[in-house]
């Protein structure tokens, strides 16, 4: 059931993020450290995710996409704004509340090599959340549940008895997904789950995630650094640049009629695996590099690289505003 547009569905959003800002203290500088340094990781970001929906969150390194995901899960402190889950505010949830919430919200990590403890057997890795949350009474019940989960993600039944090193990257990522599914969550933040995998394996994992979504009605925040993979899994896509969402739209609108110049540059930056097509493609290279998050420019963050920059862009930051049904963009000139 992937790929359909969800425009017009009236369900209450599962996750609702309103004007989220995350600032990190980065020490002091200047004479006797009088100047405070603050990393503006995420600023004024708003979006929602509906039940059963996948929102693709795309941005380059340092754009704040992972921080946004982690803020929802209560793993980084929120500086400003509000986060609601199933209608209840969870912005400043305490330790116990975060633990409680983790039954409903889970994280799948990017690096399947670093995110599994090499000294734990697969069965113990997957059973750990079950034990922590008291979902299983004894070892036998845990083993039974783990076997079910491993089958669900397409791993052989004897996988539980082995250690992570015995598995390939794609299989490890399946273990990570099984662990995330153990508590039967409703919402999963997948932080670049396939970026570290080879092309032929990548599709296996993305397809698995789609199947699981169809089976359990999961919602995903699918974080990625380019627009190629998210096209297949997302219903809507948000583009982040230097801590802001610059465009948020239904999937087909992002690809067919992108509005923001950065979205267009991102689309153009992924080469198409077809030589004549790629040679003929008009390539929009955006010169320069993203601004320093310690000292972001006033006005639009994309101004230093934007071909359409005007005076207004330098003075005032554009708000995310509706362009057409199902598409919002933050830009003064497009």
């Amino acid at each position: 059931m992937t790929g359909q547009t969800l425009e017009g569905r009236s369900d209450q959003p599962l996750v609702d993020v309103r004007n989220l800002s995350v600032l990190f203290d980065a020490g002091r500088a200047g004479f006797w450290g009088r100047k405070r340094l603050t990393v503006h990781a995420v600023e004024n970001v708003s979006f929602d995710i509906r039940p059963g929906e996948t929102l693709g969150l795309v941005g380059e390194s340092g754009s704040g996409k992972s921080t946004t995901g982690r803020a929802i899960l209560g793993r980084v402190p929120v500086s400003q704004g509000h986060i609601y889950f199933q209608g209840k505010e969870i912005t400043h949830a305490g330790k116990n509340r975060v633990r409680e919430l983790s039954r409903d919200m889970q994280l799948v990590f990017q690096d399947p090599y670093a995110s599994l403890n090499p000294r734990m057997k697969i069965i113990d890795i997957v059973a750990e959340p079950l034990r922590v949350h008291g979902m299983v009474k004894n070892t036998k019940a845990a083993a039974k549940e783990v076997a079910r989960l491993l089958e669900l993600v397409g791993l052989p039944p004897d996988a539980g008895a082995r250690y992570p090193h015995a598995f390939s990257g794609g299989q490890r990522q399946r273990v990570g997904i099984a662990r995330a599914l153990a508590l039967k969550p409703r919402f999963i933040v997948a932080d670049e789950p396939v970026s570290a995998l080879d092309v032929s394996i990548r599709a296996q994992v993305v397809n698995l995630m789609q199947d699981l979504q169809a089976q359990f009605g999961l919602s995903y925040l699918f974080i990625a650094h380019d627009l190629a993979v998210v096209r297949h899994i997302s219903h809507r896509i948000a583009i982040m640049y230097a801590g802001n969402i610059v465009e948020l739209a239904e999937r087909h609108l992002i690809y067919d009629s992108p509005v923001h110049p950065y979205t267009r540059a991102l689309l153009s930056a992924v080469p198409v695996p077809d030589p004549p097509v790629q040679r003929a493609r008009q390539r929009i290279t955006c010169p320069g590099e993203p601004p320093n998050p310690l000292n972001p420019p006033s006005g639009c963050r994309f101004q230093s690289r934007c071909p359409y920059v005007t005076g207004t862009c330098r003075e005032k930051a554009p708000e995310l505003a509706r362009r057409r049904p199902g598409q919002m963009a933050a830009c003064w000139n497009c």
Binding site: Q171, Q210, V229, R231, H232, V272, V277
Partner: protein, 330 residues
């Protein structure tokens, strides 16, 4: 020795490289042959562990213990690079006539020397330039790779630069001695997409302007499509298909090439389901006797459990597959 003008710039012939690890002998390169002509860009694509980097590391003499080159030969302009008698000559060739750009510009630049020191070192060592000559040339080189304010940049350390800028410096260093062959090992993998686009644009431009030959190692078929005249697809330590880029992409013959092209997500096509290749690549400690792709191949027949050499399909295209052989004879 073959030194006719028709000889390719670089020829790798039946290269065998093994790594002696505690777990066993990893057969990283199991008889790899390819050649690069003057002014040509060859893309070598493959997934992790396919042996694509090992093949070019052998060209650059970067196979170290526990790795050993145990078969085959490498010819640059018709002369062997592996000949023990020509060690001194080979050292002159590597780094001067053949230059390399590495994947991670963060770790391949020395953090304790300025950019200027590192570029001029190459120039003074290989070309015997004086300090002033080298500095002037270094500034020209930075200009060539579109780095602004070269004089200021020369005094900076690598950590003062962004990843994209460092990769530009690496390219400038590779160009320093006007090499005839540049080997770029995943030059854009560590970079963000918009920066990758900038670097690819720069490489395309430089290749055309300087008419230098390039070997581009990558796992991204899109990068090959943009940059390469020819493409070689590697799987489990062997080349499974090689040919001119356009026909290979338009009509891939080897099932693995076909799978790889289909599995690469495209921005210009709508699909709800990604195409995957089931299974995983084989273990190179004990690779299968027959075609290495056999267990994952949907067209595998009985013949596939035997070994298969590269079959010529005409137009300088070769493929290592029984099914392809059948199609040709038909």
């Amino acid at each position: 020795m073959n030194t006719s003008p028709k000889a390719p710039l670089l020829e790798v012939r039946d290269l065998v490289v093994n790594f002696y690890t505690r777990g066993g002998v990893v057969q990283a390169s199991r008889g790899v042959s390819f050649q690069v002509d003057y002014g040509q860009t060859l893309g070598i694509v493959g997934e992790s562990g396919s042996g694509k980097s090992v093949a070019v590391q052998a060209v650059m003499g970067l196979i170290f213990n526990p790795g050993r080159i145990e078969g085959g030969d490498i010819f640059f302009k018709g002369r062997s690079l592996l000949d023990p008698a020509g060690k001194k000559r080979v050292r002159q060739v590597r780094g001067k006539e053949i230059a390399m750009i590495f994947q991670d510009p963060m770790t391949s630049l020395n953090p304790v020397f300025t950019i200027g020191t590192q570029i001029t070192e190459v120039l003074r060592h290989h070309l015997g330039m004086t300090k002033d000559q080298a500095k002037k040339r270094a500034m020209d080189l930075l200009d060539m790779v579109d780095i602004n304010a070269p004089e200021k940049r020369l005094k900076q350390y690598p950590h003062e630069m962004s990843g994209g800028m460092r990769q530009r410096v690496m390219i400038a260093m590779a160009l320093a001695c006007e090499p005839q062959l540049i080997i770029a090992d995943e030059p854009t993998t560590a970079l963000d997409v918009t920066i990758q686009a900038q670097i690819l644009e720069l490489l395309t431009d430089l290749q055309q302007r300087l008419n230098v030959s390039v070997i581009l190692i990558t796992h991204d078929l899109g990068v090959v499509a943009q940059l390469c005249h020819r493409v070689a697809v590697m799987y489990a330590g062997r080349i499974v298909e090689v040919g001119d880029a356009d026909p290979v992409f338009a009509a891939p013959v080897h099932p693995y090439t076909r799978g790889l092209i289909r599995a690469t997500p495209r921005l210009d096509a709508v699909t709800d389901r990604m195409v995957s290749i089931d299974g995983v690549p084989p273990d190179l400690i004990s690779p299968p006797k027959g075609c290495a792709f056999f267990p994952r191949c949907d067209q595998a027949g009985k013949a596939c459990s035997r070994m298969q050499a590269l079959i010529a399909l005409g137009d300088d295209r070769h493929v290592s597959c029984w099914c392809a052989a059948k199609e040709v004879t038909r």
